[in-house]
Symmetry: C2
DNA sequence: CCTCAGCTGGAAAGCGCTTTCCATACCCTG
DNA sequence: CAGGGTATGGAAAGCGCTTTCCAGCTGAGG
């Protein structure tokens, strides 16, 4: 066999080797409605095996007019929140024999539209975008336009976030979760709270903040604007925000960080200040790898893997008449980081 | 415009709209060595923009005979070890305007070959496999054969692991890291050790174990076979192994878990047994999200993101004469989980 | 004024498949 | 034994691009 290196085995090679036509080889090897005689099919399959034939997916995609590609857009794959959701998406993709292509926006909202355009070019069958969309108008509009173009060309889209664009969405009940959490914390006897909010403009963070405030208001517990500090959505952001809050010299019983990662940063800051046993800390998400921090973190558990699964399942199912949405609630998990305050 | 829904804008549409030929449109829009008059190029570009044209990547790939696809195979994207490496790979991919397609083997070694075959079909430009390859002979052989076929068809491959197959490899110095760690722990005064080893047959785990044993042997510190317990490479695996070890009633001063995640499980078990302050614990990897556990974990820091970057960079660079390898060392980080023992 | 080189636009081949559409062979019925 | 299905293999069109190759036009040089 005198194939140059650097060129792959093609179906034509297989056909020749098996002594049949290209059409027959295709039918035997890659399936079809048409039948091919068992004896011949066997011959073709053997040839394919011997040559280590792997069908050219690009060519198949072109000929069939569809791909098995799922695009997944996350903000940061290193963040356990996103990697858990990604795991869910990948699991469903695998079950459907689809391959997933993934992109990280590094929290730059303008990247989303760019990646959608790229995926549109790849003729992806579906796109899942998981992100706390910002409220940046221009980026959102551009994303919407790209998504429309993608859908017009036959693709399907699901978002994991707020209901911000007219496409299928898995809505995470951030607001309700935070509201529940507030109620539980009040039930533990806490009355004076601080909040480590995320970056301004990040909707997930904003929703959790406002949900928490609603929860407090519902029980007539006040929250001074001075007790709310914004910071990055990261461990260090939580640490910095906590320091800032401590610096304001407020009397704190409990701190709510809008995600677990920030909460961990806050706990570190409190520990350094020797306050880790006197100030309660609560987070949000229930990140798996963080379940063993001490004291164990009170939080709102989000079924992240399931969220990823739901998103891809929704997008692979029969389309509805209009955009659908599926709501996922979190569940408050009380742990040692909020031991509570004995009623006085 | 009477395009059916469900079919995308094609270059031909753009050409017609701009009143030029297909060839010219291609040259204007997707670049070429050939020049096209500025006035015409402008007209084509405008048409493309107005129609929201996105070139069909499959078609381009076919015509050009190459893709911009990088395949990444990991064991479990939810595991922070892998997601950090993935982040590194994705960063380099983005810088090179390549898109990455990712697959999780869920720690089933036979999946690796299967995914390589799929990526070969997609005519991926490069594949990065990061995994602690098992010593399962059959799976390894099959993987080797697939990789050879992939390289023969012009693809490039890099492994992150041990030097087990004749391809470019980023070798993580697990053995040396564990050896150093042992030396440091001995320096802290510890003399009686337990080891929570990973699953049998998992090479990464085996290397760390044997490196640690070498380190002890080098200082003439004995380690009874009875003090080594194998367990899953997970938090729960570490927990279970620790329980088992405690059950053996040995006199322990310090425990080495072969990765951080197991170490965290072990710490939980020790805490439950009331031994968390009397037995030292060390891990391996220095997982970012675990840097805030208390007591802070002594470990061997691995530059995970950089490892991912190095792997893709190696594979995108000019190929060497033969398989190359690049060695990455870890650095011992002593923290509070191993306070040490005062010399008696 | 003719020739030839140098530009640049267009026609068409080809990338590796799938899928009509034909053609042939076979089997059944009357 | 003729006529009409019914299988099943093969030829060829077509998917959306890139890239030769060809053709027409322009301007320079003799």
């Amino acid at each position: 066999m005198t194939r140059r290196p650097n060129d792959a085995v093609t179906l034509e090679d297989v056909a020749r080797e098996a002594g049949v036509s290209l059409a027959t080889a295709s039918r035997a090897v890659n399936g079809s409605t048409r039948k091919v005689r068992p004896e011949i099919r066997e011959r073709v399959e053997r040839a394919a095996r011997e040559l280590r034939y792997a069908p050219n997916a690009q060519a198949q995609a072109m000929a069939r007019g569809r791909t098995t590609l799922v695009g997944l857009i996350v903000q940061d794959i290193e963040d356990p929140y996103f990697s858990s959701i990604a795991a869910g998406v990948m699991r469903v993709a695998e079950a459907n024999r689809m391959i997933v292509s993934i992109a990280s926006t590094q929290r730059r909202p303008d990247k989303e539209a760019e990646y959608v355009a790229a995926l549109r070019g790849m003729r992806a069958a579906a796109i899942v975008i998981v992100g706390s969309r910002t409220d940046e108008r221009a980026a959102l509009d551009r994303l919407g336009a790209e998504l429309t173009a993608f859908e017009r060309s036959g693709g399907r889209v699901a978002l994991v976030s707020q209901r911000r664009l007219p496409v299928d969405t898995v809505v995470v009940a951030n607001r309700a979760g935070a509201r529940d959490l507030a109620a539980h914390l009040i039930g533990l006897g806490y009355r004076s709270f601080g909040v480590l909010a995320g970056p301004r403009g990040l909707l997930t963070a904003a929703d959790r903040l406002s949900g928490f405030m609603e929860g407090l208001a519902g029980e007539a517990v006040p929250l001074s604007p001075d007790a709310v500090v914004h910071g990055e959505f990261t461990r260090d952001g939580g640490h910095a925000a906590m320091m800032e809050l401590l610096g304001r010299g407020r009397d704190l019983e409990c701190v709510f960080a809008v995600n677990d990662v920030m909460a961990v940063g806050a706990m570190a800051a409190l520990r350094a200040a020797g306050l880790d046993r006197s100030v309660g800390v609560a987070g949000f998400d229930d990140i798996v790898t963080l379940r063993d921090v001490t004291p164990a973190l009170t939080t709102v558990r989000l079924p992240l893997v399931e969220i990823g699964e739901a998103a891809l399942e929704m997008v692979l199912s029969e389309p509805g008449d209009g955009p659908r949405s599926q709501r996922v609630r979190g569940e408050v998990v009380l742990r040692e980081s909020t031991p509570g305050i004995r009623p006085r």
